[in-house]
Symmetry: C2
Subunit: 173 residues, 2 copies
């Protein structure tokens, strides 16, 4: 048995985006039960100069599809960040999941030493596949999923750590 | 070239704990410049029923040393969660880093199919090494580092995403 680059990347994006979608379910149930309304939650932030709940989901989507595209040497589908409602956020997650489901294991595996370039506004970062995964993509992706969770928690939505880790729980026997 | 279980686990804990220590530096500088005092920050939470900044650091430490110990089939050093000051939080991170530095690559690599059991109060979760890494250890560890960051940000400490990803940035050419 050997470690597969696919196994430590694509399924992590998939599982955690699934959990992110389940946060939306709990937020909706909480809104119906008298908690903050969905418009309030969509725009909620931890502090004024941090990104909103909606933006955290867009950034988690970008991290997942951008990471998967780089590992598979493909173009990520463009998604123009126009979401404002929970229905549109669900659709954004679903479109991201559809792209992830299209990624072939054989296009990712073996890419641990492949050069990955990340063009930022003021410079280009160059990584190996392993470095990009561990030093950029997973921390950045999980940052946005965690911050989305934290924003809902700070608004009183009843989420627990096992909602965050749910896919991992299902994985385990 | 093949993917190494060591490379996708131990250095992630090490780099992100280093970044966590740098959040403490920025929080101290901000306190000196008139921001919230260190006692306030140590006890700060996003909402009453979430863990404090101090507790997030203890939990990040537990996730890192517990994960490393399971991958290397060792006992993690016990750390009794008595920290209350920034100096003690720094020491906690340093002790965790010392344990991580003692983990040998050859004790981790090849463990992707090894069974890892996680005993919880009410049940035992069973994973392969890969499943434990991707479905539990990394998401859980990065959850606590991100939440520590979020608590400081919500208190006005001037941190940015590149503080969170700093080690990844240094990795890249």
């Amino acid at each position: 048995m050997s470690l597969s680059l696919y196994d430590v990347s694509i399924p992590v994006y998939q599982r955690m985006l699934g959990n992110l979608a389940s946060f939306l379910d709990k937020a909706e149930a909480h809104a119906k039960a008298g908690g903050p309304g969905l418009e309030t939650l969509a725009e909620a932030k931890l502090i004024d100069d941090m990104a909103s709940f909606t933006r955290q989901i867009q950034l988690a989507s970008d991290a997942a599809k951008g990471g998967a595209a780089r590992f598979a040497q493909q173009e990520a589908p463009s998604m123009p960040d126009t979401e404002t409602t929970f229905a549109e956020l669900r659709e954004r997650i679903a479109k991201t999941q559809a792209f992830l489901a299209s990624i072939k294991r054989e296009d990712v595996d073996g890419g641990e030493g492949r050069t990955i370039e990340l063009k930022l506004p003021n410079r280009t970062m160059t990584f190996t596949g392993t470095e990009f995964l561990t030093g950029f993509s997973l921390p950045n992706f999980l940052f946005h999923v965690t911050t989305a969770y934290a924003i809902l928690r700070a608004q009183g939505v009843p989420l627990g750590k096992m909602d965050f880790l749910a896919g991992g729980q299902a994985l385990a026997a």
